[in-house]
């Protein structure tokens, strides 16, 4: 295949990046810093253990986030907790991805009564409170799956609706495209249509949906952990840290709860800003569905 369009000028990619809105650049920088800090927690801030000579020390140069009631460095704890939060949220979003894409593809490809039934199910779930549902799931399945897997399952099972709606919507318009008619004319089976013609086209919108799903997953995971229904203390996530700092807060030590919360806020705003920017540029039709 020959391309007739002129080759893009050199540095075009660089210029494109440089002309992005400042907020998007900042969000990207913050997110990169957070992810790197979470991954490199052991190098940046080795776990320092209990030290009873510096209990509840306020933030200082030596301990930027202060220390907790057993003298542990809150920054070191927060970075590790952020790593747990990110990992769990990514897994939970993947669960949602799997369920949402499956339901959406079934509804969009089979159509007819299957579509009607599946969309009624989506509407039904949409009208219910997904946080109560997540609590019920985590309580039921924690004994058999363990806390981490139960949280992933619970957050995933309560967040697939948007993905199902988007995938179905994309498929409804894809089905009308000429290349699909050509494939059908060439004798392609339904399964081949899905794998070779539909799924590759779903990439961009599903990717945007995933980015915007992550803040929700982070929030729900930390909320469950905050309530004591999520991860156990030895796998502490940011939600656990906030809950653990609650008691010290009554004694005036605000830093144990405040800094982990700020990290959640920063990560969620960064994911939201990037995801919505990406959505507006590439998938503006999903404005109403895809939001922080």
């Amino acid at each position: 295949m020959t391309t007739l369009a002129p080759a893009p000028p050199r540095f075009a990619r660089l210029r494109e990046v440089a002309t992005r809105p400042t907020s998007v650049l900042i969000a990207g920088g913050v997110l990169a810093a957070l992810v790197l800090a979470a991954l490199g927690a052991d190098l940046l801030r080795p776990a320092d253990g209990i030290a009873l000579d510096r209990v509840l020390a306020p933030p200082s140069l030596e301990h930027p986030f202060g220390t907790d009631e057993t003298g542990r460095d809150v920054l070191a704890l927060s970075l590790r907790a952020m790593r747990v939060s990110f990992a769990i949220s990514l897994l939970a979003a993947s669960v949602a991805l799997l369920i949402g894409v499956t339901i959406g593809v079934l509804a969009g490809t089979l159509g007819g009564w299957v579509d009607g039934l599946l969309m009624r199910i989506v509407d039904f779930f949409g009208s219910q409170n997904h946080f109560l549902f997540a609590i019920l799931l985590v309580v039921l399945f924690r004994p058999v799956l363990g806390a981490a897997a139960a949280v992933c399952l619970s957050v995933g099972l309560s967040h697939w609706l948007v993905l199902a709606r988007i995938v179905r919507g994309e498929l409804l318009s894809l089905r009308e495209r000429p290349f699909v008619a050509a494939a059908v004319g060439g004798g392609a089976s339904r399964a081949r249509l899905v794998v070779r013609h539909f799924l590759p086209h779903l990439g961009p919108s599903v990717a945007v949906a995933m980015v915007l799903l992550l803040p929700h997953a982070i929030f729900h995971e930390s909320a469950l952990s905050f309530l004591g229904l999520g991860l156990p203390p030895h796998q502490a996530s940011l939600g656990n840290l906030i809950a653990a700092g609650q008691r010290s807060m009554l004694a005036g030590a605000w830093w144990i709860s405040v800094f982990p919360g700020l990290l959640i806020l920063a990560a969620c705003v960064a994911f939201g800003t990037l995801g919505e920017y990406w959505r507006d540029r590439h998938q503006p039709r999903w404005r109403g569905e895809l939001e922080l």
Binding site: S127, Q128, N129, L140, F141, A223, M249, G261, L265, V269
Partner: protein
Amino acid sequence: MTATVEHAPATGRPRRPASAARIIARRMLTLPLVLFAVAALTFGLIAISPYDANSAYTGITGSISAQTREQINVAWGPDGSTLEQFGSWLGNIAHGDLGNFRLLAGQPVAGEIAERALPSLVLVLTALVLVLVGGLVFGVLAAAFRDSPLDWAVRTFSYYGTAAPSFWVGLLLLYVFSLQLGWLPSGGSVDVRAADGGFIDPVHLILPAVTLAITQQAWFTLYVRDTMLEVLRDDHVRFAEASGVRRVAVLTRHALPNALIPFITLTGTHLSELIGGAVLAETVFGWPGIGRLTVEAALAVDIPLLVAITLAGSVLVVLGNLVADLLYRVADPRIREGAT
């Protein structure tokens, strides 16, 4: 709503307006369906989960009297097929018997839920009023002064309010206003030192309601702002402006009523979000509502109680949507006039 609102002529075939009785009948018919769906879903989940009613009540020791076992079997159905169990369980629910509750130690659950529902309802409705009033004021101001620092501030605050974990916002407010400044009480719904504190002390309501409102206001504020920006470009608004109507009057009498009509439906759908947010706000502030009962039940692995709360929440959502439908009819003259 003022009579100055003008509507573009409806295009296409006019929809048959629904009377209030029809709206109520339709929603009431969906109620049993929704409840059945919720019951089926929760029962299915319980059936595939390792949860076992007998062992949950006996604990590790396994000692249980024959009488208790009988009670459990009555509540959860005999040891038959899953479908039989579901049938008997559903029958019990239909009779208002939701099972045994370890947490409540034999108290009737309907009474307990009703008792806990009232503080929750007060909290959620107060937060809703705060969301609506705040969203209205700041949404209209942001639209009227588009791209001004005020607009920017409103949008930023909404965005950050959505992204911030509500329990964390609650803790911050608690620290600042209760612990540091000492202006507001830190928890509970009444002053325990008072001999007869009554039911709910409004001062105790402020912090939880504000927490809930801050984290839930974005959808409405941004909705009002965006719709106002759209309506301000409409012909009838520009005509009013051109004929010399004052700016405030243009905003409040010509633009706002049109911008507001669909928000009632939105309020109905956001009710379930508010209920979820209430779980966290109630936990932070020790508010004696359904949300805290939910967490207590979850921590005690009291599945029957959790199921009962889920069902109660579903009823509330259906009723909320019913109220929204009825209000919608009052607010939109096209529907109202068509019906009378």
